[in-house]
Assembly symmetry: D2
Homo-oligomer: 337 residues x 4
């Protein structure tokens, strides 16, 4: 922690040095040409207390030096984490394709789509049973019935599935049925939910909030890890910017940044990021070559009549085409689908 | 709903017109100089289905015309909603000052601060018992004990209090103790929590997410209202932007925009918005003259040793000074503290 | 400058220390619990060279400590700069109202508006002759004729005027006619233009770019000051965010932040910030109490037929009303109009 | 243009209809369930006047239907524009690699780097002679001498070069020496400069402003095209967001969006977008598969001693490695380097 002093008076500097030492840190004084700086050296516990020194009038700012996450960091664990999702694997030398509709709408719909995406090469099925919707008047999902239909689809196709969980109370129910629990973008800092999935036995698919920095994403992963669940998959799904041609702005550079900072697998969701089917293919391919461990893609057999996210869903034939285009890129990246 | 066609071919236009009518809308065709536009007239139910028409290749875009909230809107209810919080009122001709520490830390701390802010003119106490923290290693609040200490402070000072609730399960407990339930910025789109506080009997203090639009804030209020709880207070607390001199950017224009769109009271929180005590006073005053129904201000008796948010907390004497400066502005705004 | 090392190996640290000393800085080594940090102490010249050390693989990051502006800073000049604009003054104990149409459209229009705003209490007239427009097909201004009409309006009313200059070549012409030269938001980092107005004899009205940090705004002021022109007025006019209810987001906290960092006067333009006339009044009042040195307001005698920015222009009667509401606030702020 | 009425009173609607017809448009009335909407059909001239109707109190909003650019649009010209830069081509089936240092620093530096990038497969050299710098105290470029050195490098290697022009006055000089004129991100809406390069005989390399929408980028291209210069190359170089791990956020989805909207070539600059050399490779590869027509990459023989942008520059051997990785991706994309 580096404390930049606003004042250079001896008494002010001494006061801050004394505070720093009171908090159990060693204080190093650096007298610069125009500023005096105090480096506080010591254990990170109580860091927020050091930060509070910023409230002193003769302190200009307090600059943290260390990353705030630990368990999620590469420094603690060099090798890539490989997460087991039913019969599938995410991470390492595998490139994982997760596909399916935004919402489970009916037995026919989910089964048909599951068959389609499996044939095309997807290894994990997605489908929402509990839907987080901006409007209380929008379709909220089939709920428990949706989970049953996803299980049926798994039985028929062998595909494990990931589905979203919205509240801590839902965790036991969803955990019973699903192969992986999704924490959605709007819940990335729902700390009660993070703790609950951290105590679950199934892996967690954690989507970056559209307003969240990568550091915050890793801190949210840290919540899950620190509760004892080591199986966390991160997902970049676009951030909110001023641009309106796309629903969000896919931050593809998040992939190499995260792969450098953390051992956890990183998936890209080009469907939610762009909001438009015609952009899904190019962005999925960009994800492969940028080093992602997989993609999550919305596929619907009849997008124009989907209950949700129709505009961003691929038709089956477009998904098949995309899979063909992705295969050689995955090979070039040294991975296998 | 306005559907802008990418194609001008008769068969494409006819196809979309048929789809629109299939969904129960009346279609008006407008053939412009360069574009053909279809206006879909009818009941808003099923709107998401109209939006899904955007997935058709010959549709350029679908533009909604109506606001998506109803109960929160001025059109449904012209007069200002006045929310009763224990002995206090928010809305109408009242300017409400809510003050207190970020976190409840001890009996002495919360009681002393409660006394201070009451003397200076605050009508509602704030204080966090359950704290949403970016890091799992940060202080997470005194939890139930914190609620007890807030109750004690209420007994001693007569000030009703607002405190944050983090999960649906906590709602019954917090509702039992607190006079108003706060839904924090990070939970603004935690729809499970919104539904739970919507079924509570206590008023709800709903903070704008730091990357949420005003429309989304009103949609979240709509969740609470549509569950039967009419007592919602909105709070602007800064949005996330590229600027780094302040913790967030206080969107002060949100105040008149919201006052125009909704009948719900609007409070401004300059402490979280700016992240620095020296900016709290000017922004609180700006809130008054911009038409806010009140301010929420962090006050701490010893900011440099606060467990959280020290840098943005006012010392008691600075808070008293601010209250003196605010009074004449409130009067000019035609309100009373 | 603080250099945070990624490596803790002696040879890596020694290498960076050697580089730092090669560049003429003194290196202080701080060996922390988890990181090694090198503080580079010395003259700021060559700072970009220190920053380039970030390209070394064993360096994690380079953190600057000093503000990058000098002449614009309070540290160099404690007392407020007061800028003389014809017969008017901006800064110190004066609250300046600058008003007029977006564009000069005709002799009648500019003269009538000048009379109106003068009567209501404005001290400086605004009006665009050279217009920066997003589209090449939009009205580009009356150009030199517009300057003549502004001069006529000045003769008739005694109001000095500010008008925008778009290119270095236009500076001599605009300088000949105008009392203050405006550099628009889109040109805030047009460094050729900044240097040209820095060599002019008239004061400069520098608008914050909608994509610019306050630090960058002050660096652009530094360009003007370092060319020898000490008369710079800063203007906050809204920044670009994700919110769409307003044209931009007025960053009102920029006012106290800037007043703390710089001695230069700070004006707020609520018309461009909000894009809607109904929001101009509340935001102008917020500016007064937040500590601004003035406001710039668009007034048009017939907004529905304005050549540009009609939606955000005040009608004369609304402007008069606003001036009445502002006067007592200015008095409370300890200033005079 | 769609006008959404706030009022449903006959007189208010009639008033707007009359205004619309006065402006030469045909008005179509659509009476919805909750809103009345007026569609204004006609020639786009005078569009800003229609927009000004938003200032009428009984109008809620005015929604434009048409794209505001014309010459830059695919509707006017279906086939891809191919831009000739000296001996090189940008657009169509060519994938163009533009490489070189941020700034020209010396004869040895630019010549050596030119040789290196040519050998590795680059077809165009980049190098700044006039540098736009945030600080007036930073290195401002070698100016005319830099142009001479670039010419020498061209003579020795045969590589045509692109270099930035900062002001309209510099256009004739830079045009005399360079093969393509760069308009930098900070000047994307410097309309005087856009007009000047629009009258030049050399192609224009137009960088997206870091807080500019794609629509605004195309409008800036429209300025150049409408002055008579048909040779415009667009460049995505990252936009400003809240994320701080990267210098800017590379908006890779801009590539397919632009390729759909315009016939102009689209280049990606991963060096400025990310600000860090380790991210340049993955983002360059993402650009290829997302459909870009090329990349612009900063290469420096000694990044740790570069005069500018050291941290984001590739060393020669890393650039060679990247070129090897790019070749098979370019082939898969159906293009040739």
């Amino acid at each position: 922690m580096i404390i930049v002093m606003a004042s250079r008076k001896k008494e002010d500097v001494d006061h801050v040095v004394a505070k720093v030492e009171e908090l159990g840190y060693k204080a190093h004084l650096i007298v610069g040409v125009e500023r005096t700086v105090i480096a506080a050296v010591g254990d990170e516990r109580g860091k927020f207390r050091l930060q509070a020194l910023e409230s002193l009038p003769h302190v200009e700012k307090v600059v943290p030096i260390l990353k705030s996450f630990k368990l999620a960091g590469r420094e603690v664990k060099q090798e890539d984490t490989i997460v087991k999702v039913g019969s599938a694997r995410i991470g390492g030398k595998t490139f994982s394709v997760i596909a399916g509709p935004c919402s489970v709408e009916s037995r026919e719909q989910i089964t048909e789509i599951a068959r389609t995406v499996k044939e095309a090469g997807a290894k994990i099925l997605r489908g929402g049973a509990f839907k987080p919707r901006t409007s209380p008047y929008s379709f909220q999902g089939l709920e428990e019935e949706g989970l049953m239909l996803l299980e049926e689809a798994r039985e028929k196709t062998g595909l494990p599935f990931v589905t979203e969980v919205l509240t801590p109370e839902q965790v036991p129910l969803v955990e019973k049925h699903a192969d992986m629990l999704q924490v959605g973008a709007r819940n990335m800092q729902n700390f009660g939910l993070l703790k609950a999935v951290g105590r679950a036995k199934k892996p967690v698919f954690l989507k970056r909030g559209m307003m969240s920095t990568l550091n915050e994403l890793l801190m949210s992963a840290e919540y899950v890890l620190s509760e004892g669940n080591p199986n966390v998959v991160l997902c970049e799904r676009g951030i909110r910017t001023f641009e309106t041609e796309t629903r969000n702005t896919l931050d593809i550079s998040a992939v190499p940044v995260l792969k450098n900072l953390t051992h956890l697998p990183v998936i890209v969701d080009p469907s939610h990021a762009t909001g438009h089917w015609a952009l899904v293919g190019p962005m999925a391919k960009a994800a492969v070559v940028a080093g992602a461990d997989g993609v999550m893609i919305e596929v619907h057999n009849n997008p124009a009549e989907a209950f949700s996210d129709g505009p961003q869903s691929l038709k089956p034939e477009r998904f098949q085409q995309l899979m063909k285009e992705i295969v050689p890129l995955v090979k070039l990246a040294g991975k296998t689908i």
